[in-house]
Homo-oligomer: 241 residues x 2
Amino acid sequence: MDFRKFPNISVDCVVMGLDHTGLQLLLSKRTLHMYDDQYPVVDDWVLTGDHVFKSEKLDEAANRIFKLLTGLNTSYYRQFRAFGNPERIKNDRDLLWVKSLGVDTRTISVAYYFALPVEQVKTLAPHSAWYPIQDLPELGFDHREIIQSALLDIQEKVMNDPIIFEFLPDKFTLNELQHAYESILGVEIDNRNFRKKIIAKPYIVSINEKRIGTAKKPANLYMFSKDIFIKTSDKHQIINI
Amino acid sequence: MDFRKFPNISVDCVVMGLDHTGLQLLLSKRTLHMYDDQYPVVDDWVLTGDHVFKSEKLDEAANRIFKLLTGLNTSYYRQFRAFGNPERIKNDRDLLWVKSLGVDTRTISVAYYFALPVEQVKTLAPHSAWYPIQDLPELGFDHREIIQSALLDIQEKVMNDPIIFEFLPDKFTLNELQHAYESILGVEIDNRNFRKKIIAKPYIVSINEKRIGTAKKPANLYMFSKDIFIKTSDKHQIINI
DNA sequence: ACAAAAGTGTTCTCAGTACACCCATGC
DNA sequence: GCATGGGTGTACTGAGAACACTTTTGT
């Protein structure tokens, strides 16, 4: 394994987590001191990324960063776009930062997103934190654009592939599923119609357990059966031009 | 403008054209002679690509290549994925080729596709040709995989965005539109139901012209109105979970 | 007993689907 | 006049949408 890094190729990870308050992003604090220990010249937040090792797959680089951030080995992930315009790095903060790292001022960034329930992350990396997607802090580089692009991509994916379940624990209630759709798509859904439609799907199976804890009336739990989904998936390929 | 090239960053273009026989791809012949002028050591086809200039946007690089290939300045295009595994270049032909060019043996390729009617291309670049997607020649590198990936992406896009019209001339018949869907999605569509559905769309406007020429009965021509599509597009955002 | 979230049914409308024959033109 | 692709209508079915109240539990 060649652990030297490409100075001009990096991977950025948009880690999306869902909890009962909505969609959250995992960001890293970026601080650089130069003249004065009290007043950093760079002090904002960025997506977590790193340059790619010489002998590493792009997917491997993304998962290496994800593991460093969350301690987790696996999660749903998807490479959704590459960003590489020459003027990506335009403001002084970003230039200072890049020079302090000794990498190229023009870097191609291959962007990935990850999807998981927030509760699954037990140990956060230092200097990182969850932020609700509606209320992000000041971001470095073009990372606001990358996040926007990731959100649009996953909104489309959610409508075509069964990835909504990646945001939920294995066992979930119908209301949790509904809130997941509402948070990611930014829409409101009628509860009765939603339940009717979901219960009718063969791959959503009711299990004989209730969610106990904070709720008042215990809610029935369901699971997503990937097997059944795949076996019945020809029926989802409805042509609807 | 800095015309030096990154040795490890390239752009590959999947140029998709549609004609009455179906979906075609524009490929470039790759030939390399070493010992003998009669028997080349490399003799196959590849997607057209090039390394990116130091001061060029990725999108600009893609369009530069596209123009070189087709002589055209504009077309619908989309960056759909980056390919960059270390073992992308594994066979001898590809290694010989890369060494003859003096570029790195590990290159990150940002892949784009373009969509247009075949007839729009008047002047093909030398050593390039259209191939039907069902009948591709021997391909170098991982270009078969890239093509497959492009096809899956555009099939999904066609269902969500009005990009089918990029494959057609401004004025088209309903049957041409139907054949476009059939070629790209690889399905058969009932003609009567299709016409009913399409004519009902406000953004498909019948114009008072007929297609004359080879056909027997002249067919009515239609145009796609992007304006009307955008103004009515809230209605296409149907939630259909 | 009351607060809070879970759960439940009916009616209406509209879009999708299956399906077979006549029409207008060029040759 | 005939071959070729263009063009049309109906009946059925199923899914989506609108809409308000009862149930079960913890406190």
